[in-house]
Symmetry: C2
Subunit: 319 residues, 2 copies
Amino acid sequence: MTARIGFIGLGIMGRPMALNLLAAGHELSVYARRTEALTPVTDAGARACDSPAGVAREADIVFTMLADTPDVAEVVLGTGGGTGGSTTGVSASDGGGDDRRARAVIAGIRPGSVVVDMSTISPAVTRQIAAELAPAGATMLDAPVSGGDIGARDGTLSIMVGGPAEAFAQLAPLFEILGRHVVHVGEHGAGQICKACNQIVVGQTIAGVGEALLLAEAAGVDGARVREALLGGFAGSRILEVHGQRMLDDNYTPGFKAALHQKDMRIVQETAHELGLGLPGAALVAQLLNTLVGRGDGGLDSAALHLAQRRLNAQGESS
Amino acid sequence: MTARIGFIGLGIMGRPMALNLLAAGHELSVYARRTEALTPVTDAGARACDSPAGVAREADIVFTMLADTPDVAEVVLGTGGGTGGSTTGVSASDGGGDDRRARAVIAGIRPGSVVVDMSTISPAVTRQIAAELAPAGATMLDAPVSGGDIGARDGTLSIMVGGPAEAFAQLAPLFEILGRHVVHVGEHGAGQICKACNQIVVGQTIAGVGEALLLAEAAGVDGARVREALLGGFAGSRILEVHGQRMLDDNYTPGFKAALHQKDMRIVQETAHELGLGLPGAALVAQLLNTLVGRGDGGLDSAALHLAQRRLNAQGESS
């Protein structure tokens, strides 16, 4: 594969992914807002561009790995309304100044290019971005991942892909570098829907394991024995194995941060709202993550949802 | 091991367990209310007794495998207040007539005997029963199981044991016949607490998988692809694998019946109430199981909790 590759977003996830592409022998054009994020990647041979548009001009395939919906809308279309805060992402009326659009991927993209967004963002906004790129002759894939920074570093991510089958087939060799469990889920947005499903399952399984360990403790029963007993049966899961142990150890070093899980559950709630769908279990998980982040614990691993369950049952706490 | 064994309760779980003990070469004295439940076991060489007391007189180790808390209280102490309905199980004031006590295990039990209750019942009542047996010189173990009728037949149950370590050690060879993952969790009632924990985790994991598949369907995404993608990552679990497939196939042939899961979640709720413990996720699962059983679907597999989630989101249903 001789395609020239662009990579935008070189944070805790994007940097090791970009380095894996470089290590596999690909030429990379990169962009990041922060210079210090660029250095490790340019040191490894990547060429820095001064804007997302610049990356798009040089690359046939443009990866984005950013924090949230508005970041992707800003980088790709120049319509993100800045970073953070807004949850609506992109809209026609938002527009974006000419300056912002001139710096965005869409200003530099060439016919036949593919934009691969590996961030976890709104499925609806994903479909909007794909629709905006189409007139420029560019294809979009949404390809959010599961597996955290360790999976990014080791190239063992799970990758859930939405978009046209031909583009998926074209990108498959690159996905194989980045992950080891790659599934083409469906059309535009299907990857993001799949990631939302993933976070629903992970969140409720954490909640179940957390409540179980809370019950054991309140009843004077050794939680470690309970975990051991449950692992052998139908309650067994990777969450019980890994996060159950974190809860027993009271060790919430991330891992996958609670603030990001909160953001993902916000996307779940927004999507459920758009679809008119009642997901009470997911709503409960979102509320617990809200209280966790609200207490300043968003930087802990998302297994710390158990702390929110403990606080609900804490004695004598007034704040 | 030459101990003489008693077995009371020869239903869908108890019968194959009793047959496994017989097949391993043990002599069995058995009791069941229904003659037709006795026949397959007496045909295999067990001796029928005319009461639980009769079983206790003949046996050093008395297994019980019954439906609910009042059943165990009635069989062991004669204080169950009949079967079904009551959720309080045993109490000193209930008393039980002299007749009922005379027919119960406690009337025939000998010093040094062990009563092993493998039913899933109230942890609090379990501790009461253990306390009532102690003056007769008998020990109790609570040893509820996970794995369903298939696990009972194949001898592959998970067994969660509460009670004295010496009695656990004495029974270990028999547990090895009945199951393959046997854990001594703690003192009296700890096995039942562990089973409650198991049902909390199983219930919430089913709920999470069900909501994820509901979101996928509402968004027009193939649930089978979502299940496949999630199985490879952190959302992976036996519930996603087995029950996720049941949901996709709309096949709720039990398996473990929803009515029994409802009963187990009632025990969870009662225990949380006794402990003053808030378990909102478990409460939500209990509510969904209530609506499922209330619609006459208690005989379906407990994965049919997904049907309750679907009904919550059904269009145009009026009843």
